[in-house]
Symmetry: C2
Subunit: 345 residues, 2 copies
DNA sequence: ACGTTTTTCTAGAACGATTTAGAAGAACGA
DNA sequence: TCGTTCTTCTAAATCGTTCTAGAAAAACGT
């Protein structure tokens, strides 16, 4: 039941002041090499594992980690290769700066109290991945004075972001479909409230996420004559796309094209077609968004965005003092594959 | 340039003691509802965002986050759906306990100094994902007195782990191959030193990770008459499997079966076969390990392990005080698909 | 009305480090 | 030899909380 070994204990044992022990760890040039050696070895003997992280964080004001905030549940984030790719890019830069990544779950409950992870987290900055503009967690972070970089363009001019031009990107998709003669379109959107229930048809105002909304607007822009319906099967996941597409395909009112607002959802739609003996690109067109690796295998027409680069760029804005650009637009590209074809007449 | 708003500022403004403000946030039953209300609203007015995370962590000794340590570079972790699945399971439980996940990069350099992320990190516990037993980072964590749960069975009886019986699992694979008549086998292993260079052939002692070693032993057990060679193309990734398999296939000495010690590597090997016009299961057998989602699509024979459950179980051991079992063995299962077939004679 | 319990609040000491300002001694130049 | 500049080390304050022990006030039972 011995009391914990602290910097003080080590100092006493080595016959020096606590400051010197601290310097031995943090500022080696502030003391003679010999003494440093001696301190380090007595520390070792005492089983001292180096300065306590929390204490250091408190005193120096640096936590050595950046937070990452995801839409929805944390577990869902890992089901989308797009999110995973982003994380990989971010992790690359984090690694470079010897910084940890703190994945914060945003509990819907307990926003007021203090037991929220977003409140608790000791972070220097935060990456906001596809979280809707008005989310309370963002307010919390802003209040805490934590610098943020979002993957969506914000409305505030002083907000940092690394994003694509959602409208323009979706417009490319819309133009592609319009060119192929599609006029009956169903868009598969992410919607938390639809989770676990029947798929639901939504109006544009009910679409929560700003980026989803923008993509829909982009589509509309290039498809002014088309009837565009919005359907959600739940969270952004393969299964949601599957369920929603099944519902659409089994209805009386089939579209000629299905647009997944993410590739995972579009792939779910392709699966729904497959089980019904329908061929994507011939019987019905399916297009996606993101260009995840699986999209290529599946022959899915989609919008490519450099997701890993996006992660890296966010990391740079967050961590690299040399990075001055705080609002970065990444390029997108229409990738035409076999899943889209002329509308049957 | 006003000084920061702290609990003290709020206390002064509300005309109460700092302790009371603290209680307003943490122990609502310790003060009257009216006063709590008043304190919270003055806090709001002053722009106080709640107790500082670092200070709280220091004083209360709880950081509210668990660390996750991965093999190799953090970015590589995201390239393996197996690791991602684990993370998803772990995240599920973390979410339940309002705990954040801290992904720590383990920089190979700077193990001694204090700027290491593993040293810096403010965490209550740590999940060790496929990190070799003797890794210095583990020593660091042990010294810091941080409880750990590993995904590999450790040698120490007091170590916590959630793992599979690697030997037994690999033995199933070996038995399967032996039954099919294979006697010339190449095993694709993960090896950091082989990264970026030519694929290398290794001896069993050179295989770093304990679990890899165990799997090889399991194979050997059921294939006593076979010649088993170990080849690495680098880190555990699709590209490494691809490169290594290409090297093997283009050599004079082709095996009849290739064993990927992970599915991603096995899938890389299948790709290498494809580009050479070889059909898996006919010309050469390929088997993997893990049963990631893509394995099904590709028709890869593999060992299934319930990875998401594994993540969840680790989470429980880490966070749930009710979880008493500290050494858990998960089940595995041989899944036979089209990539394995009888050895050509 | 009076001791006892309960509720509500506070003072002051930790928590374990870093930082600032400066002391003591060594080295230096003239 | 003497002031000056380095180098090496230290004392004490501070970071923003939470916790322990206890005071003051209110409520209670008889």
């Amino acid at each position: 039941m011995s009391p914990r070994v602290t910097i003080k204990t080590v100092a006493q044992a080595a016959g020096v002041s606590p400051s010197t022990v601290s310097n031995a760890y943090n500022k080696p040039d502030q003391l003679s090499a010999a003494l440093r050696e001696r301190i380090l070895s007595t520390a070792q003997e005492l089983g001292y594992a180096g300065p306590d992280a929390s204490a250091r964080a408190l005193r120096s004001g640096k936590a050595g980690s950046v937070g990452v905030l995801f839409t929805d549940k944390l577990a869902y984030a890992f089901s989308d290769p797009y999110a995973v790719g982003f994380l990989a890019g971010l992790a690359e830069v984090a690694e470079e700066f010897a910084t940890s990544l703190l994945l914060m779950p945003l509990s819907s409950t307990d926003i007021q109290g203090g037991t929220n992870a977003v409140q608790q987290a000791a972070i220097d900055a935060a990456a906001i991945f596809c979280v809707a503009g008005g989310h309370p967690a963002l307010e919390t972070l802003k209040n805490r004075g934590i610098p943020m970089v979002s993957t969506d363009r914000g409305d505030h001019p002083d907000l940092s972001w690394v994003a694509i031009d959602e409208v323009e990107a979706a417009a490319k998709l819309g133009a592609h479909l319009a060119r192929l003669g599609h006029r009956e379109v169903v868009v598969l959107v992410d919607n938390a409230e639809a989770a676990g229930t029947q798929p639901v048809e939504l109006s544009l105002d009910e679409v929560g996420y700003t980026d989803c909304e923008l993509r829909i607007r982009g589509l509309q822009k290039e498809m002014p004559d088309a009837r565009i319906r919005l359907v959600s099967g739940g969270h952004n996941a393969f299964s949601s796309g599957l369920i929603a597409a099944e519902w659409v395909l089994d209805s009386q009112d089939r579209p000629t094209a299905i647009v997944g607002l993410s590739d995972v959802q579009a792939l779910g739609a392709m699966e729904a077609m497959r089980t019904r003996g329908l061929v994507p690109g011939r019987d019905l067109s399916v297009v996606g968004f993101d260009d995840i690796p699986a999209a290529q295998t599946a022959g899915l027409t989609t919008i490519r965005q450099p997701i890993r680069d996006k992660g890296r760029a966010v990391g740079r804005v967050l961590l690299d003092p040399a990075a001055t650009e705080r609002q970065i637009t990444m390029p997108t590209e229409l990738v035409v594959r076999s899943s889209s074809g002329p509308a049957p007449r």
